[in-house]
Structure formats: structure tokens, C-alpha cells
């Protein structure tokens, strides 16, 4: 016998698919199968359910670099102490966990004068800055499904990074005004290389690496009917640029989806400024929106909770007793490079795998703790690793999709016996921090 759980939310990428069907054994302990998910999403569920490779109790690094098991109480004490003793602890991650956990973490950071930062620091932080510069005309993904007849993918490769995005929302679905599905849509992909996504494009704008800004501004000029100088613009033949412009202007509802190929390449937030302004300009002719392809399944939610609690979406410095935000100064990378943090707390991300080497070295030098269901490059360099239940698999909680739509993730199986959830662990740390502060 087995049990079937429907409407399961996938805690992997920002597409946040919520139509998965998970089959478990009778006791709700083991996952037997996952339907509807893409390969990456399914793997996440199946993998978590195989407890043999998982650490189920906190571990502390020894002098010789090996790890020794400790109790959760000891891990709580360690975490509370390093945070309370630090002047400016960096509390990073918050993107692969629930908003409920984020919220408890923020309260700890507030008491300890920490810096709270999420993975936007290394992916869409530039987007958030651009939005602060020029705004953002956007829409929900269901609007795309129901109305869109023009889709641009810029600097992203959903075929690999967000595998079900195209079938659920952007290219293939048939919606209210889009009964013919993909036949009704024209697809433009901007990428320096051919990819599995460019294969689906009606027009592939093969922009020269690092010239996104130029191409974006050329499109803006062409849309206004300004002449373009030169036969090749940013690596793209002028005729192709004009052809793209005709496609964009002749649609009834268009969307630009963009990813790290344009947020982290030369130009950074200026690229996104230009992409947003292009979207805004197009609204003088037709209807257009722009949506960031957020990576971690709840990085968007971290920005939301930070927003309503402090008014800033990432890189929030609470060390002075009030919230400051100055990306480039208060961001994790900069703080680590300047050796300004005196303790590291990581939850819901893997900076050990994603940060520049200099920052990773700094993490390994400082008093630290990493909270993560897995063993990761980060947990391997932190003093203490606290394993926790998988959010979205072993415990529920609220998450925000890339279009800011909140979806409550479900619990489908029990975590390994005695395992804490990150919210439980954080709540215990918060209690302990309050006690230590009171003395």
C-alpha cells in the first residue's frame, strides 16, 4: 500500500511548481515516486528520502578537521554564543527556507546586531537595485499564460535552470486568450551561445558577450523609430534587430524574462535598468511586462519578509541598532572582503560553493555555524553543521514564487527521527540569545 499526496510544492527553483504528486509508503516515511516534477525537482524529493547519506545530528569540527556529533542543545548554545559575542555577525542565506524561518532569524539578527543578506547578493541583487532606480512593470505568471503572445528570454536558459517554466507559463500553455498555445506566441531569445532554449526561438539574438546594454538601448532606439548606426549592433545584424522590434511592437501582450546572464555580466544593474525601460517604452505601443527568473525557490520570500520588517530587500545591516541598506557596502561579499564580520551564520544557501575564494576563506577563518539539511561545501568549512528537516518535503511553510505569488509549501514525509526544523532550531536560538542578552 502507498499514499498519494497531491498539490505538492516543489522546493527547488523559483518556478515553484505546485502541482506535484508524491507517493509515499504507508507510514509516510519514504518517498516512492514523484509525478509532474522536472528531473531536478524529482531528484530533490527522492534524494531527501534516502536517509542513508544524511547527517541527522549536529556535528562540530575538531582540531584535525574531522567532525564529531554533538547534541542539538550544544548546537543551540554554540550558535547563540557566537552570535551574542559577535559585534557584527553576518547572517546569510534565507533563500531555501520558509518565510516563517526567515522571520525568526531576523529577530535574532536584530538582537545581535547582525547583517541579514540573502542570495540576491550574488544573483538578482542588481535587479533589485535597478527596480529601485526605475521601477518595474510586471505581472503574475498566470497573466503570461492567459495573454502573452510575445516572450523574450534574456540571459537565461530555462530549459535547464527552470525546466517547467516554459510548459507551465511561458511558451506552451493554452490560456484564456491563448487557446492555440505555442502557435500563438513568438519567442525571442537573447544569448551569446546557442542553448536548448535558443533552439525554441523564432529569433535568436546572438548578442556579443558583454554587450547586452548596447543591444537593449539599440532596441529602445529602434522602437522609437530612431536610425541605428552600423550594420552590426552588439554582434547582431541590424536587420535582425529591426525584425525583433517588429515582433515586439506587433504583439498584444509581451513579457521579458531575464536571468543571471544579464544581471551578473558587464553592466549589471545598468543592464536591468535598460531592460526595464525597454519594457516601459513598449507600453506606449502595446502591453509589456518584465519578470526576473529568480533562482532559489524562496529567495523572493526572503526579500518580502525583509521588506515588510525593515523596508529593504537584501543586504540589510542591523548592527547599528537600526536598519541600513547600502549594497556595495552592506552586502555579504563586500563585508567578507573587508573582513568586517566577526562571525558567520548560514542558513538556506551554500556560499561555500558560490562565493569568491577570498570570501570562502574568510568564512572558514571565523566562528561559524551552517544550518542545512545536506552536507555542502559550506558545512564542510563551518565550525558547526546543524542538519535540519527539508522545507517543502519534511516541513511546510510559506514561499514566494519568482512573480511574488505566495504559495504554502507542504510537508509530505516525516523528517528523520529527532531532527529539528530550521524554524524550531532558530526559535530555540532566539530564546537562548534573549537569555544571554538579559545577563
Amino acid at each position: 500500500m502507498s499514499k498519494t499526496i497531491t498539490d505538492v510544492v516543489c522546493p527547488f527553483c523559483g518556478t515553484l511548481c505546485d502541482d506535484l504528486i508524491v507517493t509515499t509508503d504507508d507510514e509516510g516515511k519514504k518517498i516512492l515516486g514523484v509525478d509532474n516534477a522536472c528531473a531536478i525537482g524529482a531528484e530533490k524529493f527522492i534524494h531527501s528520502s534516502d536517509h542513508s547519506h544524511r547527517v541527522t545530528r549536529p556535528r562540530k569540527m575538531q582540531e584535525d578537521g574531522s567532525f564529531k556529533e554533538i547534541t542539538y542543545e550544544e548546537a543551540i548554545e554554540h550558535t547563540a554564543k557566537i552570535l551574542v559575542n559577535a559585534k557584527k555577525p553576518l547572517m546569510y542565506g534565507w533563500s531555501s527556507t520558509s518565510c516563517e524561518a526567515d522571520s525568526v532569524g531576523h529577530e535574532i539578527a536584530e538582537l545581535c546586531g547582525g547583517i541579514v543578506d540573502n542570495t540576491a547578493a550574488v544573483c538578482h541583487g542588481t535587479t533589485l537595485i535597478a527596480v529601485q532606480n526605475v521601477g518595474i512593470p510586471s505581472c503574475t505568471l498566470g497573466e503570461v499564460k492567459n495573454r502573452a503572445d510575445r516572450i523574450i528570454f534574456w540571459g537565461c536558459n530555462p530549459a535547464h535552470a527552470h525546466p517547467r517554466h516554459m510548459s507551465r507559463y511561458s511558451i506552451f500553455p493554452r490560456g484564456y486568450f491563448t487557446g492555440k498555445g505555442a502557435k500563438q506566441r513568438k519567442i525571442i531569445v537573447v544569448d551569446p551561445r546557442p542553448t536548448d532554449t535558443t533552439n525554441l526561438a523564432d529569433i535568436h539574438l546572438q548578442v556579443e558577450q558583454g554587450y547586452d546594454y548596447e543591444l537593449l538601448q539599440a532596441l529602445r532606439a529602434a522602437i522609437r523609430g530612431e536610425p541605428l548606426a552600423g550594420d552590426v549592433i552588439a554582434g547582431v545584424p541590424k536587420e535582425t534587430v529591426y525584425e525583433a522590434v517588429d515582433v515586439l511592437k506587433s504583439g498584444r501582450f509581451g513579457v521579458i524574462f531575464f536571468g543571471m546572464g544579464v544581471t551578473q555580466s558587464l553592466g549589471k544593474d545598468h543592464n536591468i535598468d535598460a531592460a526595464i525601460c525597454l519594457t516601459k517604452d513598449l507600453n506606449d505601443y502595446t502591453k509589456f511586462s518584465i519578470v526576473a527568473m529568480r533562482g532559489h525557490y524562496n529567495v523572493t520570500g526572503s526579500g518580502q519578509v525583509l521588506g515588510w520588517q525593515y523596508g529593504f530587500p537584501y543586504s540589510v545591516d542591523l548592527s547599528r541598532g537600526f536598519a541600513r541598506y547600502n549594497p556595495g557596502e552592506t552586502g555579504s561579499i563586500e563585508v567578507l572582503k573587508r573582513q568586517e564580520a566577526d562571525a558567520i551564520f548560514v542558513l538556506g544557501s551554500d556560499p561555500g560553493a558560490h562565493f569568491p575564494m577570498r570570501c570562502v576563506k574568510e568564512i572558514s577563518r571565523l566562528p561559524s555555524v551552517a544550518i542545512d539539511p545536506h552536507i555542502t561545501p559550506t558545512t564542510e568549512i563551518c565550525d558547526v553543521h546543524v542538519p535540519v528537516a527539508f522545507v517543502g518535503v519534511e516541513v511546510g511553510g510559506n514561499c514566494y514564487r519568482m512573480d511574488n505569488v505566495p504559495i504554502e509549501a507542504r510537508k509530505v514525509v516525516e523528517p528523520p527521527e529527532g531532527m529539528m526544523t530550521d524554524q524550531q532550531f532558530l526559535s530555540a536560538v532566539l530564546e537562548r540569545v534573549k537569555e544571554l542578552k538579559a545577563n
Binding site: 527596480v131 529601485q132 521601477g135 512593470p137 490560456g175 507600453n283 510559506n398 505566495p406 504554502e408
Partner: protein, 565 residues
């Protein structure tokens, strides 16, 4: 729970018709009572003003728009941050304060109940997450219905039972309080970059008009007997000459009688009427039509309004009226955010600087005040700024000052750069009426509470009601300088929320026990609507039906108002 007696304060309470009498107010177990025992803590309010906690009928304080406003305007935090304290979290922001600051600031002014004015159903969980993080004040949220595809289809086919079943379902699913209508049809049209600028413009592809949408929802609301009436922001907001559309909208409610068990007497509430009372046909000959609008309101007792007063600040506009925000960004060229929400609504955000040097802004300022001063019934005219659209709610005490002091208004009028033009386009200069404390209590307490169907619960000091009580250090008979009004109403000396002392000597001392109000309106089982909901989720929504409902644990301390009909 503890007992309190507030002694010798000058009490203004329209609910019990107490008009500035010296009186004791007793509190026990969270309620107002006739008497307390000798153990009751006594607070001396001699020479001070005592009122019920104020009730906010329309503000944008929680949810996706508000939060986008916060996150995309770091500049709004400049010079505003306050560190946390023993009972408070750190708090910042001016026009779009953080949730903590929202709770503290309302409480400090003596506001204890606040309605979030526009909740997109798909984002309802977000709204409730923020409400949960907003301390002290009771809150409810109005889901938007005026551009909803279910509503369009049922109304087009004259299926009133289905409309009601759907309303009931959506209120329950989103934990919503009332039927909000924003730019009916126009926000759907905005899906194609279009708009409905009169109430008879057909909605593209849906074969229905804004007038039909409003009339249909009004009828459903009364048939269902909901606590609040429909709550409307009509078409053509913010444009010269729009007062005609406003009057056309008002007329939809003409002669309709209220049906409910909550003591509500109106069938129609129109919000931020200031933005809808414009004459002229361009910004050049833009003028006030406050008198024309209020003449209608005064003679039709089945409707209520709130003002939407401009406070002449730099603020952040945000509304489910997507096309309006696009229009605004083309006027002021400031950063524009927009979110169209599948099957439900659109919305937009643009920062705005109401500059007193600009003629139009000064005229808008005058119109908001004129509406109040022309009102013959303060029980049907409520003070708002449509926070943060016409200004932040933290400016209420300044508006009270303007309404209560002709002198302060005259000074403003004379001080404008375009003083002559402003006076020519408005009648404010000739209105010497001064709102008194009793009328203020009607416009901020008893009136909005009654309109919301909460007249037996809050906004008054009758025994049995929630003990939301405020003491202000001001004496109506002894005001020498209008500035005293603004100062006193900015910082209540004491605030009780349901019997808990939350503000003492102007300081937050407790986070109270905030509640979330929502309405559970019972209707007969309707399999047709159940099937339609399933079908639309399957085909057109981007989330599954089973992931749409706001589960109970996201609703902070729920207080469910059940409606049987």
C-alpha cells in the same frame, strides 16, 4: 484581567451621544462597563479628552503593493529609523512604514482598528503575513472583486445566486472582510493596456460595463447582508472633469435600502472622494467640484464616503487601478511599478510629490478639506488620506488641525505660490466651518465603525463594547493655537486596546493582542460555482486550487464574523 477607571475626562462619544461631558469611563475584562470595583487602577483625565479608539476605514498598510513600495523606495527610510526598545522592534519608513512601525504609529495616535483597503486574492496569504507582523491594531482586509472574471461572467448571465456563492467562497478562502471594487472593468482592460474611463465603457471581451459590475455587486452585498457595504473606487480617478463619473456612480445606489443585522445604514461606500471631485477639462482649468459632490452625498442617506485628503508630502501612490498609475508615471516620470494579477486585478505604484508650489496639488489639498466641511452628516463622512496615496496616515493630526481651524486653513491658502489661482478654483477660503471634537469622533470613530458593521464592537464607549479607549492631552475649550491640536492628536497619552493598556505616557508598553477580522457569509451549497472554480483553476490560474486558500495559521488571532441569511 485588570480593571481601570478613567476619571474626570471630557468624553466625546457619538455612540452614547456624550458631547463633551466630564465623565468616568470604566474598563473590565477588556470591555467597557458601568462600574468597576475599588481595586480598579485609576487614571486621572481631568482637563483631557477621552474618546473611543479610532477606526481606519481605508488604508494600504499590508500586502504586495505596499511591500513593493517599501522595497523599491529605500529613500523612504531616510532619517526615519527608530531603534527597537523593550516592547518594540526597530521601525522605519515614512510613507510606507514597516509593519511594526505601522502598528506603533496608529496606536500612538489612538487608532485601534484598521482596514487594509485592497487585497488581491491571489496574494491574500502575503497580506495576512504582514497583518500578523503588524502589532496592536485589529485589522481586516478587503479582497478586490471589481475585475474578477467569475464576477464578470455570473453578472453578465444574471446569475445572482452564483455571484453570492462565489463572494462567500472568496471571502472565506482569502479571509477577507468586504467587497472592494477598484476601477471596475478598467483594471481588466489594463491587461491589454486599455481602460474604462466612464461607468458605461464596456470591458473588452467580457461584454459587461462598470455600472453593471457595481450594481450587481451592490445587489449581492445587500442580499447577503454583509457587515460592510460595497466599498468603491470608481472609474476615471484623478482626471479633470471626473466628478460627473463620480455622480453617475453614486446614482447606482439611489433608493436602494440596506439589508443587514449589523446596524449599517448605507448600501454604498465611496472611498477617497477627493480624487473623484474634479471639474474642468484640463490641468489648466482644473477646479473643485466638492460642493456638487457633497450636495448629492448630503441628500442620499444610504451612502457614506471617505475623504482621501492630500497632506502635501512626498509619498508613494499605490492602487489596484493599474491604468491610473501608468497615467501618473507619464505625468511625473517617476519610477513605475505594475503588477497585473491573473483573473483578478491589476495594480501599480508611483512615488508622488504633492508640492504646495504646484497649483494642482494645492487645489487637491483644498478639495479634501472642502468635502468634510460641506458634509451635513459627519456620521457618513470619514477622514482618510487613502494612505499612502494622498499622504501618510501619520498626518491625520495635521488634517484634524486644518478641519478644526479656519485660521490654519487661511494661512495655508495665503501661503501658496499660486494662492490666487487656488482660491479661484476652490471655495475653501469661504468656508469658515470648524469641525468640533464631537464631529471628529463621528468622522473617525462612530461613523466608520457603523459603516463597517462594527458599531456594537468598536468606535464607541457603550458598556459591553471593546474597551478601546484613548486619552488626549487637550481641552476643546482652551485651545489657543491650532498647533496644539496637531500635537495632542499625534501622541495620545493613554491608549487601551480591548482593555489592555498599550500606550502609556505616549510610549508603547504592550503589543496588545491584535485580531484579524474576516467575514464568513453562509450561502446554500452551490455545485455550479464549485465546478466553475475547479475549471478555472485547472485552465487559467497558475496555482492549484488546493494551494489557494489562506490556511488558518496565517491569520493572526482570527475574529470571524458569521453572517446567516
Amino acid at each position: 484581567m485588570s480593571e481601570y477607571i478613567i476619571k474626570n475626562g471630557t468624553v466625546y462619544d457619538p455612540k452614547t451621544e456624550v458631547k463633551g461631558e466630564v465623565k468616568d469611563i470604566c474598563i473590565k475584562d477588556g470591555k467597557i462597563v458601568d462600574k468597576v470595583s475599588s481595586k480598579a487602577k485609576s487614571i486621572d483625565a481631568k482637563g483631557k479628552t477621552v474618546m473611543a479608539g479610532a477606526v481606519e476605514i481605508h488604508a494600504h498598510v499590508a500586502g504586495p503593493k505596499v511591500n513593493e513600495g517599501r522595497n523599491y523606495r529605500p529613500e523612504d527610510k531616510l532619517f526615519t529609523y527608530q531603534p527597537g526598545g523593550k516592547n518594540t522592534r526597530m521601525a522605519g519608513g515614512f510613507s510606507i512604514p514597516t509593519t511594526f512601525k505601522t502598528g506603533y504609529e496608529y496606536a500612538k495616535m489612538g487608532y485601534t482598528t484598521v482596514m487594509e483597503a485592497a487585497m488581491p486574492p491571489l496574494y491574500a496569504r502575503h497580506v495576512h503575513e504582514e497583518i500578523k507582523d503588524t502589532p496592536i491594531i485589529d485589522e481586516g482586509a478587503f479582497p478586490v472583486f471589481g475585475n474578477n472574471w467569475f464576477v464578470f461572467e455570473y453578472l453578465k448571465n444574471n446569475e445572482m445566486d452564483n455571484v453570492m456563492a462565489y463572494i462567500s467562497w472568496l471571502l472565506k478562502t482569502t479571509k477577507g472582510y468586504a467587497i472592494k471594487i477598484v476601477n471596475p472593468g478598467g483594471s481588466e482592460a489594463w491587461g491589454w493596456g486599455e481602460n474604462c474611463t466612464t461607468i458605461h465603457d464596456p470591458v473588452p471581451y467580457f461584454d459587461i460595463t462598470p455600472a453593471e459590475i457595481m450594481k450587481g455587486l451592490l445587489t449581492a452585498n445587500e442580499k447577503m447582508g454583509l457587515p460592510h457595504s460595497i466599498h468603491v473606487h470608481t472609474n476615471n480617478l484623478g482626471n479633470p472633469g471626473n466628478y460627473k463619473d463620480t455622480l453617475d456612480t453614486f446614482k447606482l445606489a439611489q433608493g436602494v435600502k440596506p439589508n443587514n443585522k449589523f446596524g449599517r445604514e448605507q448600501v454604498f461606500h465611496h472611498t477617497h472622494v477627493q480624487f473623484h471631485s474634479y471639474g474642468g477639462d484640463s490641468w489648466a482649468n482644473f477646479e473643485s467640484k466638492a460642493k456638487e459632490v457633497m450636495d448629492y452625498v448630503n441628500s442620499n442617506k444610504n451612502m457614506t464616503i471617505d475623504l482621501g485628503c492630500v497632506t502635501l508630502d512626498e509619498t508613494t501612490t499605490m492602487t489596484a487601478d493599474g491604468p491610473f498609475e501608468h497615467h501618473l508615471t507619464t505625468l511625473n516620470h517617476l519610477k513605475w511599478a505594475n503588477v497585473d494579477v491573473e483573473l483578478e486585478t491589476s495594480s501599480g505604484i508611483v512615488p508622488y510629490i504633492y508640492d504646495p508650489k504646484i497649483k494642482v496639488c494645492a487645489i487637491q489639498w483644498a478639495i479634501g478639506l472642502e468635502l468634510a466641511l460641506y458634509s451635513k452628516d459627519p456620521m457618513r463622512t470619514f477622514i482618510t488620506t487613502d494612505h499612502p496615496n494622498a499622504g501618510p496616515f501619520t498626518r491625520y493630526p495635521r488634517i484634524f488641525k486644518w478641519l478644526m481651524s479656519d485660521k490654519s486653513r487661511q494661512e495655508m491658502l495665503k501661503g501658496f505660490k499660486n494662492s490666487d489661482k487656488v482660491m479661484a478654483a476652490t471655495t475653501l477660503g469661504s468656508l469658515d466651518r470648524e469641525i468640533n471634537f464631537y464631529e471628529l469622533a463621528q468622522m473617525t470613530r462612530a461613523g466608520p465603525a457603523k459603516a463597517l458593521g462594527l458599531t456594537d464592537m468598536c468606535g464607541g464607549l457603550a458598556p459591553g463594547m471593546d474597551a478601546d479607549v484613548v486619552i488626549y492631552d487637550i481641552n476643546e475649550g482652551k485651545i489657543k493655537d491650532p498647533e496644539e491640536i496637531e500635537k495632542a492628536f499625534s501622541a495620545a497619552t493613554h491608549v487601551f486596546k480591548a482593555g489592555t493598556l498599550v500606550v502609556d505616557n505616549g510610549e508603547i508598553i504592550s503589543n496588545g493582542n491584535k485580531r484579524t477580522f474576516w467575514v464568513d457569509a453562509k450561502v446554500p451549497t452551490n455545485t455550479q460555482v464549485e465546478r466553475d472554480v475547479q475549471m478555472k483553476f485547472l485552465k487559467y490560474y497558475s496555482v492549484n486550487l488546493n494551494n489557494y486558500e489562506v490556511s488558518d495559521h496565517y491569520v493572526a488571532n482570527p475574529y470571524v464574523i458569521e453572517v446567516e441569511n
